[in-house]
Symmetry: C2
Subunit: 67 residues, 2 copies
Amino acid sequence: MKNTIKVERAKQNMTQADLAEKAKVSRQTINAIELGKFTPSTILALKMARIFNTTVEQIFFLEDGDE
Amino acid sequence: MKNTIKVERAKQNMTQADLAEKAKVSRQTINAIELGKFTPSTILALKMARIFNTTVEQIFFLEDGDE
DNA sequence: TCTTTATGTAAAGTATACTTTACTTTTGAG
DNA sequence: CTCAAAAGTAAAGTATACTTTACATAAAGA
């Protein structure tokens, strides 16, 4: 799965730490998700979408390899 | 988190087993998610949205308790 | 250069998503 | 009522999301 978290953060001028705080997860969790190291829960995806004033589908994209 | 999976399945006249097969997870996984026993991954949420021709936000809803 | 801020990374531990097998209960058609 | 399909449940195991602590690196400004 791909994501546009970095871009959305840039739009809002927000650091990984800022986003982590707003979403109530650790900064490392945001970093890992942003780098595609793992897939967030749907709760976290929904929270990010809400924080960025957008939708889950505009942040996260299925790829061919996604089982 | 709440969800409307049962309703979406009904619209498409689809059993839990049907949905499980399309999403490539077990039937028990669908059952547990539908009953709110756990939160799916974002990949699974995106797949369900795609299967139901709708969006993640129309299937899954954050609640007050959601950390 | 020195310092600060943001990002990346790593390892160990905990919580939880998901699987498999198998059984029970509910529901609806006939 | 009966039978079959659908849904619910449970337990044990595996995979992975997420935390905490800690350190490394890069960029930018004083």
